[in-house]
Amino acid sequence: MSAPSQAGLPSATRGAVRHVAIAGNPNCGKTTIFNALTGMRQKVGNYPGVTVEKKTGHFFGSHGEAMELLDLPGSYSLQVRSPDEAVARDVLLSRQPDTPRPDMVICVVDASNLERNLYLVAQMLELQIPVVVALNMVDVAEKNGVVIDLMALREKLGVPVIPMVATKGVGFIELRQAVSRSPLPPPPVCAQMPIVLEREVMALAKALHVAPEVARGEALLLLTLHDQALEEVAHHERPVIDATLEAQKRLRLAGIDPLSAPVEARYEWIGQICAAVTHKGGLFDAQSVSDRLDGWLTHRVWGWVAFLGIMALMFIFIFSVAQYPMDWIDSGTAAVSDWVKDMLPDSDLRGLLTDGVIAGVGGVVIFLPQILVLFFFLGILEDTGYMARAAFIMDRLMSKVGLHGKSFIPMLSSLACAIPGIMATRTIENRKDRLVTILVAPLMSCSARLPVYAIMIAVLLPVASSLQKAGIMLSMYLVGLFAAFGMAWVFKKTLLRGETPMLLLEMPPYRMPSFASVILRMWERGLIFLKRAGTVILALSIILWALATFPKPADPEATPAEAIAQSFAGRMGHAIEPLIKPLGYDWKIGIGLIGSFAAREVFVSTMSIVYNVESDDENTEPLRDTMSAERHADGTPVFTPLVCLGLMVFYVLAMQCISTVAVVRRETNSWRWPLFQIAYMTSLAWLGAFIVYQGGRLLGWQ
């Protein structure tokens, strides 16, 4: 009756490599153990069809046996609420295509938070999968006055328990030994479920078309799903779902709530174990260092001071530290470009290489330092435990637009660059909330907008004081901020309407971050950005280069400005002129908009070509003067104050960043959302510029 599946095969038939998975709650030190076991032998990919990261690595057992270690996403439970948790469950139930059911699971348990961490262990044991418990952070537990009787814990759980202090390298030899031992008998089923429930579980298990060893676990998970989640179950046939619903109805009649009874049974069992194996003081022990720190860091007044201070520090670092490598990359790109120009005669090939490929790649790589510094800081915030505090502090404000505190850090990161911000949305469990955050994050003014603001402010106020400049700059940031929160509110009310999700935030104790793992993670994320975004950007840069180059002008003596005017880009500029006329723009600005579609900072260099001036980001004076002097056919200036302001507002609100598009595509796993995002942001930008220009004129301004 049961369909043959990979899970049914003994491990020997799957080759010599043993598949080991590592699982655990968030903040239990799982990543540290994973990194220590596998070193640099890691591979980061994606599970097919979902955006969940799949991290695997190789390591060797104590006798040199080859093992493959799969890092399961951190979760509190196998009850699925986010795509991450779904993957963990599917792998363990051998439902995940392309990933074999692990031969063994290392379940990492935070010894200083034993009760709640054992919950996941309890669920693992129910799946009848061989488990080794890595009891991590025993030092912290002891410092908190909790001594765990290992022998007793081993006996109660029926599986090996290895005491560890992963950050100090303690316990790895024993862990390798435990993993090498073979064969491991599946542990006995643990938490005692109510008899009526157990009967329904067995009955349902028989009706499932799955391998016998996963049937009970699968049946139990099905029975504990609430109605809506059950309706969404896709991997079982309708009769199974109906049978589950019937069983749930019978259980309710018998006075047993199928959703809570198993949970309570597990905690009951855990409670007994903990009482037997731990020796500690009272339930509410004395204030720890972490508690005292929180007294300050989440204080009504000092909490804000610290919060703003930390955020300010982060941004000062991003903009100052990252500036040096960015300058090097900039000059490096220019040097390579010059070298190619020296090596090759003037031709289309040379143009393709210098203006298409090198400029395109340079345009991506230039932001890498900033992105890496940001990832570094996010890693530190996460590792120290401050991330949870930031969410705790900001939650109330975020709830005003229907989001919760976890959306705050991604939006804040987007002030430097939307890409790390969007990649940081993975911590948001609720799918709709995550989508809303992704959709609005690029509205926050990122650093790539700075060159555009700078040139437009220079044209607007050639002799502005730094205070005036800073004032205009700040108002642009505020426009972005209000737009982001406003649109979040709109999306939560309309497109991605849903009841406010529950906020359940664990506040882990503060810890010293591990620099090695922060750097490793930063590097991984940076590579993902380069690989995924880089290819798309390269392709688009080449297309944009071709648009601005072809067709060639008939007159070989034509200036670059004349050449671009009659190119496809120039023609498109003319074509969109009726659309942008209400904003006060002419076709030349149209070329700038089209040219900077892939990367907004390209606006400056495109306008330089259009106006045929030698100008770049550092030296914008010639461009500024030309733009200020530019006149319409009737002699009126093109760049009136309203046009300048409107153009800035346009760049605050428009997507104009193909790297972000590529990352959104990857994170949402479809083209639907990035395309929608381009559409809504461009419309918003048009509307914003329209209101500034036409509204200003109505008020009698220029």
Binding site: Y76, S77, Q79, R81, S112, N113, L114, E115, R116, Y119, V146, T224, H226, Q228, A229, D257, L259, S260, V263, E264, Y267, L283, F284, D291, D294, G295, T298, H299, R300, V301, G303, W304, A388, F392, I393, D395, R396, L397, S399, H404, G405, T500, M502, L503, L504, L505, E506, M507, P508, P509
Partner: protein, 80 residues
Amino acid sequence: MSTGTVENLSALPLGQRGRVIGFDLPPEHRQRLLEMGLTVGAEFQVVRFAPLGDPIDIKVRGYHLSLRKHDAAGVQIVRL
């Protein structure tokens, strides 16, 4: 289960200890709270409030859990 008056978690003052006696929440929310260890009979202490008064940070089963007042209002408790 207890002779004290039934209150809800959102109304407790700082430092107050209590015991969970029931829930008035949608099933899936209740299940999440249970899985985080806030089961019937679990004892907890209100540790702090966020700077703007919401969410609430409680200590339960030896760790810190934050939840919004809106959700906490559905957790029935007795003071200890």
